[in-house]
Structure formats: C-alpha cells, structure tokens
Subunit: 137 residues, 2 copies
C-alpha cells in the first residue's frame, strides 16, 4: 500500500463533503496494516487537509486546542498508507505506518483496558517508558 496525495482542489472537494460535528471535528481511527487498532483521535478541517496533503498524520488535540502532528514530541510518527471515510462522512479510517508505539503510555495500542469478568485488566504492557518516549524528540 502506498498513499498518493490528491491535488489541493480534490482535497478541498473531499473536505467540502465531510460532515464535521458542532465542534468542527470528525473521528479518526488509526489502524496498522495487520489490522490492529492503534488509537482513536480527532481531526478538524485543517488537520484533515494537512494529513491528506502531506501523508503524515495530523490530528486536532481537544485538550490542547491545537493541531497535533502525531509524533512531534515523541518521534512516534504515523504515515498514511490508505484513508477511507465512512457512509455518513463523519469518521475516517487511516491505515498507517506507525513509527514505534502509538500510545502515550508506551504501549503499541491505546486500547489496552480489557473488559474481563473480574473488571478491567491490561491486555498489553508498555514497550518503552514514558520518560524515554518523550526524551526522543
């Protein structure tokens, strides 16, 4: 899989069809080529435009209220292989090449609180410490 960016006009056309919510956001799922779900985050129109233009994943950080070029402080970048928008045009699936781990806890995937009969149990362990992760920038 290799991602080829559409022209700027084509990207604008895609964005004009996208249904952003009342906060101007769509949901974005990042998935590895092997099917593993890495994380779920958010994009506004600017983040979507930058992502589709450059092929490097850029989200919108709701907590920091700013564009969030994934990996800008940790080095754990995501590069786009394929993008598909859903039937309602309000969510996007990103197949990505993930450098290192996706989760800020040092785990490969953010989805690690497994529901078990005795409550939530971690389904994976950190591959790198948060200290080491944020030292790498």
């Amino acid at each position: 899989m290799t991602y080829t960016a559409p022209s700027s006009n084509t990207i604008d056309n895609i964005i004009s069809q996208t249904k952003f919510d009342d906060k101007g956001l769509i949901s974005a799922i990042a998935q590895a080529p092997n099917g593993d779900i890495l994380m779920l985050a958010w994009m506004n129109a600017d983040a979507l435009k930058e992502t589709l233009s450059t092929g490097r994943i850029c989200y919108w950080s709701r907590s920091r209220q700013t564009l969030w070029r994934k990996g800008e402080t940790s080095g754990q970048q995501q590069h786009l292989l394929e993008a598909r928008i859903d039937c309602d045009m309000d969510a996007i699936l990103l197949i990505v090449d993930q450098k290192g781990v996706a989760c800020h806890t040092g785990r490969r995937s953010c989805f690690y609180h497994g529901v078990t009969p005795s409550g939530l149990k971690d389904t994976s362990q950190p591959e790198i410490s948060a200290e080491e992760l944020y030292k790498k920038a």
Copy 2:
C-alpha cells in the same frame, strides 16, 4: 474468543471509570475478528451497560436520541467477542461477531469512501439492497 459478562457490580465499576463527553457519550469502534473495521458509533452509559451485560451490542443513536440495539430493524446484529477501553477511558473497541453486513447501505463495512488521487471512490459494493435489508426484521 468468547465474551463472558462481568457481574452487575463490576460493570457499574467499569462505567464509573469511563469518561463520557459533554453529551454523555463515548466512541465505539466495531471490528471483525479478522481485523476489518465495520463501523464507528456512540454509546452512553446505558448503552455500554446493556452491551457489557448482555453481550449484544447496543449503541446510542445520536440522530434518533434513543438506545439502538444494532440489528433491531435489519436483523444485522452484533455480538460481543471482546471489549477493550482506551488509555483515556473515552473510547471502546468492540470485537464483534457481525450477522450479515454492518452498514445501512448493505456494505460489510461503513468505511468505503476511499481517498484516491482523483477523489473519493467506493472501495466496496453493497452485498444486499437497503430494501431487502430493512425487510428482514
């Protein structure tokens, strides 16, 4: 994979740790066991409780503002195999056994608007017509 429901108390404890947004919702990703992403939808606390208690997926319909037992009108039910909540406790990944197709357009997955250099192109075709789908209930 077989899902075993926790006790009611354990489910209440999981829900008390879940971070619902200002509309009382979390994002929910439905994934097939082979890794295919089927859809993204929403759950409020009641939908999450019903899903974890019964093992049958129940979302919250934002358009209808009601609990949405997936497949209640189409017969295309989803049954839980595994559930994992993310690091921020505001999104849940559901590995599901999907009866028939997930998308209301009759496609297996809702994510079918592929981004290509010449714009959005369908990456899959309907396996069943909407007419037939909503006649099955």
